[in-house]
């Protein structure tokens, strides 16, 4: 599945591939990564950090918002995840490479500034999830 993901992002980053195909490849690459996060049980912690950073950075991203430089970074980082071992330096470099192409890696998780009505809405959503699993 990781090889498939790498093939998709390689095509998405390839300027010689047609626009529709590149966009579809980008979406499929994202789907593969999200699936990998859930089902791949053999990743090391550094693998998970790099994979999580990549998915966090692109979770709300459409191909139309991705710069050519960013696509190449996504491709290179996907390739890093294919390695059997990832060092701490490689892990840090992956995150810095994402930041260098102006991609937000952090998700909007800050509670600071959250309005009471929004807080209540999140709590209702959590309560509904809890009921679903009861």
């Amino acid at each position: 599945m990781l090889d498939e993901a790498f093939d998709r992002i390689t095509d998405a980053a390839d300027a010689n591939v047609g626009r529709s195909e590149r966009s579809n490849c980008f979406d499929e690459w994202k789907d593969y990564l999200r699936l990998l996060i859930r089902v791949e049980g053999n990743f090391s912690r550094p693998h998970r950090v790099v994979l999580g950073a990549l998915v966090s950075a692109t979770i709300q991203m459409d191909m139309s918002n991705a710069s050519e430089a960013a696509l190449k970074v996504f491709r290179d980082i996907t390739n890093v995840i294919r390695q059997p071992r990832i060092s701490k330096v490689e892990r840090q470099r992956a995150i810095r490479d994402l930041l260098a192409v102006k991609v937000n890696v952090t998700l909007p998780l800050s509670v600071q500034g959250l309005e009471e009505s929004q807080a209540k809405s999140i709590e209702s959503m959590l309560a509904a999830l809890l009921r679903k699993t009861d």
């Binding site: 999200r34 912690r45 550094p46 998915v55 966090s56 600071q112 500034g113 959250l114 807080a119 999140i122």
Partner: protein
């Protein structure tokens, strides 16, 4: 002296990562409109002590739970509402009510992967959110990034002591002796209702500094009076952007810096 730079306080960094579009966009705009920008090295320590500590708490509670309900219960009872809302916001990003919390083994693995990445990336992103990090006192704690020792994240912040601290905060604060004396006089004369908890702590620490002739940096002093330290740094900068109105409306007049209020209530009501 870095008089061309605008200093942003710690909450501004958090607003920059807010789920509320209005708050986030207003904070992002403020960072763009006030370039060149800088954040305090002390803000990095505060962010590690609050935001990143919350993420680590989520990580620990989820990793040791056998179901979503158990994880929720642990997070709620130990981290309180802030931590619960944080995990709620994460799930919101992943699909909200449509998020698959079952099978838990998969959901757990997914949530932990995101949290791992957020812990690793936050420190780098906070360091890069502004054009500069203002570190006039060479804060030792601000150089200590969250570390993964293979077993888990090490994010605790040691209490500052002579033996583990190489900063120059005593010298930095000593450069503002006249301002501190004015501050003690002004705060002491203020009506009790005007004094926030932070201003009370600032009054106590400033009084102690004047009396003993040195800033009592040991322990967690800097974090407990962060508005004072950031206020003193602001004297060296073009302006300070903060939503801590009650503190800085008092401090900026006495210490003599330009305070740009970030009107959070007004922004949220738009």
């Amino acid at each position: 002296m870095t008089a061309d730079r605008t200093l942003f306080d710690t909450t501004m960094v958090l607003y920059h990562r807010s789920l509320d579009d209005r708050v986030r966009q207003a904070a992002e705009k403020s960072f763009v409109d006030n370039r060149p920008t800088t954040i305090s090295a002390l803000s990095l320590v505060e962010l590690k002590g609050n935001y990143i500590q919350d993420l680590v708490l989520l990580y620990k509670k989820i990793s040791t739970s056998d179901s979503f309900n158990e994880a929720y219960s642990k997070i709620d009872s130990t981290g309180g509402r802030r931590a619960t809302l944080m995990v709620g916001q994460l799930i919101n990003c992943l699909g909200g009510i449509h998020y698959h919390v079952e099978p838990w083994v998969e959901a757990k693995q997914e949530l932990l992967t995101y949290i791992d990445a957020q812990i690793a990336a936050s420190w780098d992103e906070f360091n890069n959110i502004a054009d500069y990090v203002a570190d006039e006192f060479q804060c030792t704690r601000a150089t200590e990034a969250p570390d993964d020792d293979g077993e888990g994240w090490a994010v605790s912040i040691p209490h500052c002591k002579r033996v583990n601290t190489k900063c120059s905060i005593e010298k930095f604060v000593d450069g503002f002796r006249a301002e501190l004396e004015r501050l003690v006089s002004e705060l002491s004369a203020l009506d009790e209702s005007m004094l926030t908890d932070e201003l009370r702590r600032i009054l106590a620490v400033a009084s102690k500094t004047i009396k003993s002739g040195r800033f009592p940096f040991e322990g967690r002093t800097c974090r407990s009076v962060a508005d004072l330290i950031i206020g003193l740094q602001s004297v060296l900068h073009k302006a300070l952007v903060s939503s801590n109105y009650k503190e800085h409306q008092v401090l900026h007049k006495v210490l003599n810096y330009t305070f740009l209020n970030f009107p959070i209530s007004e922004i949220r009501s738009k």
